[in-house]
Symmetry: C2
Subunit: 340 residues, 2 copies
DNA sequence: ATGAAAGCGCTAACAG
DNA sequence: CTGTTAGCGCTTTCAT
């Protein structure tokens, strides 16, 4: 590996000078600059970012902790974070915890405060708020992203999306289409992250005076397969549903498949809504009616907030940013309720 | 940030000793060990991996360069690489170039030789072999993964999958089902990465004495949308096709959609095959018949090779590893050719 | 069994 | 303008 000193020797100058021309700091004579640049070129020198980070006290990377890179939402989100980070000269370290708390801890330990200058943690069912608080106490800038309830933020810098509202929008849409017998499939445990989406749905039904029994809901995981299984279970138990509210896009695709399995035509026999609007929502057929969540905005806000935290380490009260409201996107999986 | 020295002071020992207990090196008295551990605990100390990397001359990270994290294949692959890397005590840096050569170069410069100890580059149309060679010349361990033609490897350490064979398998399957009028949709330019898959397909058709005209193929990108568009174009031009060979799973989904748009029932009216067997292949409906590629094996081999390269920097001839052969996975999108 | 000292590659003062 | 000095946080001989 080529080092600064080797370049300096070849150029007949000292390391400091090389550093200066490379960073554009200080004044360097045009002559020397040329020689240095030439030396850099012939030696194929590249600065050691670790050494630089060490002396500067901060690495040029930020970390993004995601629970499952296999869930297409996260890569999409990571893309946005990376875009924002690179614009500011940072590299993005994508850390996949695979829904394993131990692995999350390992990443937080490793990354927090040494491998990265700060970390953005994607909200997930198993996110260990206490671990994040500990990290924060150690002086590592941390922001929790995609918190679901702006009204009840954790004691942590946090960007939130009003997912309760997302649930409301989906429900209102279904109700407006005349649906009365609406099932629900929630992609988390009953006490999990998606509870607010579900709550928004339930609240809206209640307000509209529509009955809903606990037999009409299934809880599970955020995956296509779980959505399909849940839908089979739900539709077997409550066959006269005309619509199903799904708390996320991925399981919504599963519901669509279950409907097809049962010979139900969507949306004639069954309407289905998702939440998030991942790419697949418009790429698959039938295109999914869903409540779009401002992903790019959330990513941008998270990076901004992290930068603020880095610049002003001691904020008294943890900041909270809330994205624009979710937005209904009507596509091909919802329609007016048919004649009984 | 807590440092080694602070821990040492609190424990009433010297930095070297703390380092020793933490790394399990050297002999340390049970008493001191306890005090040190206690100090670490109360201070919440975490070693600075950058500093460690600097003195050890190598970081504990390896980098994976992917062209598009939005393409679900790459996250799936990244997962496997991460698994293999972590087992060896390495963190994985996922670098997304977004199909932008400039960004790839930026990542290679940054990551190669300082942020990461070595880099695995996923093969892609735009991969700049010369940039990789330059990196290698600078002494950075590099392995190119998912090379498509084992018979013609580049001058680079490389793990290859026989994608020509994948094309052969898909074609043989179709032919065995009686198909004679088979179209092709290729998810890369004619001279791009998928050319060998296509070649395998063409070779097999030729061997079987099945005619094929250039009107029966469309070249494009590796995406659902491109697959759909290509299929529309293809089926409009050559409506009597009974099957279409697609060079990757993602565009194959697009073809399925186009078939649905045209009222063609799969596989009764049209058989479709993909290549890779990404998760969506079995998660979507109809489940895709495809040629599975040993992704996990390739990931493991790539990591292994990288480790070898790290351990034995000066291999005379660049190593080449080839995965097990691809494997046909018959699902619901292929069937016997129907009566004309 | 523990401490002292040197140094990894780089940058940031401060001299000259 | 350029060189000198010091030191980032850690590991590693080599003494003690």
């Amino acid at each position: 590996m080529t080092t600064l000193v080797q370049v300096a020797q070849l150029a007949g100058v000292t390391a400091a000078t090389v550093s200066n021309v490379l960073r554009g700091r200080g004044k360097v004579g045009a002559q020397t600059r040329q020689r240095v640049l030439a030396a850099v070129e012939t030696l194929g020198y590249r600065p050691n970012l670790m050494a630089r980070a060490l002396v500067e006290g901060k690495p040029s990377t930020i970390a993004l902790i995601v629970s499952s890179i296999a869930n297409p939402f996260y890569p999409e989100f990571a893309l946005e974070v990376e875009r924002a980070a690179r614009k500011l000269g940072y590299f993005l370290l994508v850390c996949n915890t695979n829904d394993d708390p131990a692995q999350e801890r390992a990443y937080l330990d490793a990354v927090g405060g040494s491998l990265a200058q700060g970390v953005i943690v994607m909200n997930a069912d198993f996110v260990q708020i206490d671990a994040l608080l500990a990290l924060r106490r150690r002086g590592v800038p941390v922001v929790l992203c995609m918190w679901e309830r702006p009204q009840a933020p954790p004691e942590l810098p946090c960007v939130a999306v009003d997912f309760h509202q997302a649930g409301v929008l989906a429900a209102e849409h279904l109700i407006k289409l005349g649906h009365q017998r609406i099932g629900a499939i929630v992609g988390s445990e009953a006490s999990g992250n998606h509870r607010w989406r579900y709550q928004g749905f339930r609240d809206t039904l209640a307000k509209a005076g529509i009955e809903f029994h606990d037999t009409q809901v299934r809880f599970g995981h955020d995956s296509i397969d779980d959505g399909r299984n849940a839908a089979h279970s739900l539709l077997a138990a409550v066959p006269d549903l005309s619509a199903v509210f799904v708390s996320n896009d991925l399981p919504a695709f599963g519901v669509l498949q279950a409907a097809a399995d049962l010979g139900l035509e969507v949306p004639r026999d069954l309407s289905v809504t998702g939440i998030t609007d991942i790419q697949l929502a418009h790429q698959l057929r039938p295109a999914l009616t869903t409540v779009a969540v401002p992903t790019a905005e959330a990513a941008g806000l998270a990076v901004d907030m992290l930068m603020d935290l880095i610049a002003h380490p001691k904020g008294a009260v943890p900041p909270l940013k809330v994205t624009a409201a979710p937005r209904l996107v009507v596509r091909a999986t919802t329609g007016r309720v048919g004649p009984l």
